[in-house]
């Protein structure tokens, strides 16, 4: 039986379909392992060889990778939630209830989306601390540190825009308080110091799409949360990962 299975596997690896997908042989030789890294889209984010101390868990605690992974979890669960969510004042809350009670695994998906979001904020912050405490922002990695700070800001904005979407009391008032701060922006806000703009032209109005939180706000936050901010985050992540490699790989003692 085992012999047959083995022969089957050997045959499978030799077929044209298999070898068209996996261009390298079984990764049991150094050459094939290198080829695995190079030929696989996700693996080739890594360099072929990594400094030994950088592989240690207690050096990076895998924080950047976990943040990225949580972002992917957010994308998948988010897209699934989008199938059952309509961003209107009339339906939004109703759809949340439907997700909880009428959609298969709807509650689980929503929980996962929410907790992974909290987790992502946390891991991104701790990742920043890790990078700081290992001095990994120092030249030549200054630029990448700034990209990372931008990603932290984007993570917070993503969480904040997502917070409104359930359209419950918690969401409504947290976002009321949050966007009202924009009103207090010096010069550009309607109630900030040295204000020049009215309530109908200040940045809070642009943010909400109306004077109060309304239909417009919900739609705006929805588009920002599902399209604009994730795209920006993906772009910046691309730069972030690229620059880790270009700036000399994982930081290490000189």
């Amino acid at each position: 039986m085992i012999k047959r299975l083995k022969r089957f596997a050997e045959w499978l690896v030799r077929t044209q379909i298999w070898s068209s997908i996996f261009r390298q042989g079984w990764p049991d030789t150094e050459r094939n392992r290198i080829l695995t890294t190079i030929n696989t889209l996700v693996f080739h984010l890594h360099p072929i060889k990594v400094k030994s101390h950088g592989i240690k868990v207690k050096y990076t605690f895998c924080l950047g990778g976990i943040s990225f992974f949580l972002f992917i979890v957010e994308t998948i669960t988010g897209v699934l939630l989008m199938f059952y969510y309509r961003p209107t004042v009339e339906y939004a809350y109703q759809d949340m209830k439907d997700l909880e009670f009428a959609v298969t695994f709807g509650l689980f998906l929503r929980n996962m989306h929410r907790w992974a979001a909290h987790g992502m904020v946390l891991t991104v912050i701790i990742h920043m601390c890790r990078v700081f405490y290992t001095g990994s922002y120092k030249p030549p990695r200054e630029y990448n540190w700034c990209v990372g700070v931008s990603l932290l800001v984007l993570t917070l904005l993503l969480s904040f825009t997502g917070y409104l979407l359930p359209w419950d009391q918690l969401a409504y008032w947290a976002v009321t308080v949050g966007t009202n701060m924009a009103k207090a922006t010096p010069v550009l806000g309607a109630e900030g110091p040295f204000h020049v703009l009215s309530e109908m032209t200040d940045i809070c109005f642009y943010l909400r799409g109306s004077v109060d939180i309304s239909e417009n706000t919900l739609l705006r936050f929805y588009v920002l949360h599902c399209i604009a901010l994730p795209l920006a985050a993906v772009g910046l992540m691309g730069i972030h990962f690229w620059r880790v490699r270009k700036d000399g790989g994982i930081s290490g003692p000189l």
Partner: protein, 254 residues
């Protein structure tokens, strides 16, 4: 023989050190990303997924009643990562707490690699070689999370002080009116004096620190450091002396 024993002990410990040294030498400087790094990442992702699934099954994401624009829940708390800012709102006007502090934090974080002239401590968790930056960053992070914890667990209805074990049903009158405004002949010189002395004293007392940074980096660093301590420092002023504003003008108040 007996005299020689201590010597042999030394040599044995020496040989141990040599062993570890030779071990690190034996261990290759770099390792293949596949499988060494990729497998660790895979395990980390599996663990994160597991934790996420367990949390998502154990705890439901909060969903309150439907949003109602004329009824504010009491208290209305922001998502936890913004509770720190919300707590700052008690001590500062919205244009500082909601706009200036976040902007200063982001700009300050981005400025770190450009003002930190100390090339040491890269790739290693090392306090000794970079005490100053270590301490300042840690104070910032601790203050940030301290405010979050305080806001989350010690604030109850009407954002009054409630211990975590106290019931929110207990009615609390507002004891601290917090409306004492420092007269401007004290407040303005105090603020200017704080910044001038804060920048000037280290030049006098720690000339070396100033010299290694260079004037531009020094003043930028000190501006952010002093601002941070200033923002944190207003909390006890408010709590102990009921000071609402240090500087009060018709246009803005600090």
């Amino acid at each position: 023989m007996q005299e020689q024993q201590p010597e042999t002990r030394i040599t044995s410990s020496d040989s141990k050190q040599k062993d570890t040294a030779s071990e690190t030498q034996k261990k290759p400087d770099k390792q293949l990303a596949f499988p060494h790094l990729v497998f660790k990442e895979f395990i980390a992702l599996m663990l994160v997924t597991l934790v996420l699934i367990i949390i998502s099954m154990a705890a439901n994401a909060p969903l309150e009643e439907e949003a109602s624009p004329t009824k504010t829940p009491n208290p209305a708390k922001a998502p936890w990562y913004f509770v720190g800012l919300q707590e700052m709102l008690v001590y500062f006007d919205p244009w500082i707490a909601g706009v200036m502090i976040p902007v200063l934090i982001i700009v300050g974080l981005m400025a770190i690699p450009f003002v930190d002239k100390n090339p040491k401590g890269v790739g290693i968790y090392c306090f000794r070689e970079r005490k100053f930056s270590f301490i300042i960053f840690t104070i910032g992070i601790v203050a940030w999370f301290g405010l979050i914890i305080f806001g989350c667990y010690f604030r109850g209805p009407s954002w009054l002080l409630y211990m975590p074990w106290e019931s929110w049903d207990i009615h609390k009158p507002v004891i601290s009116k917090g409306t004492y405004i420092l007269p401007s002949f004290i407040g303005v010189p105090a603020t200017i004096g704080y910044y001038v002395l804060g920048m000037w004293l280290p030049i006098l007392l720690a000339r070396n620190f100033y010299k290694t940074l260079g004037s531009t980096s020094y003043f930028i660093t000190m501006f952010f450091v002093l601002s941070m301590f200033g923002f944190i420092g207003k909390i006890p002023l408010r709590f102990i002396f009921d000071i609402k504003y240090i500087i009060h003008t018709p246009w803005f108040s600090i």
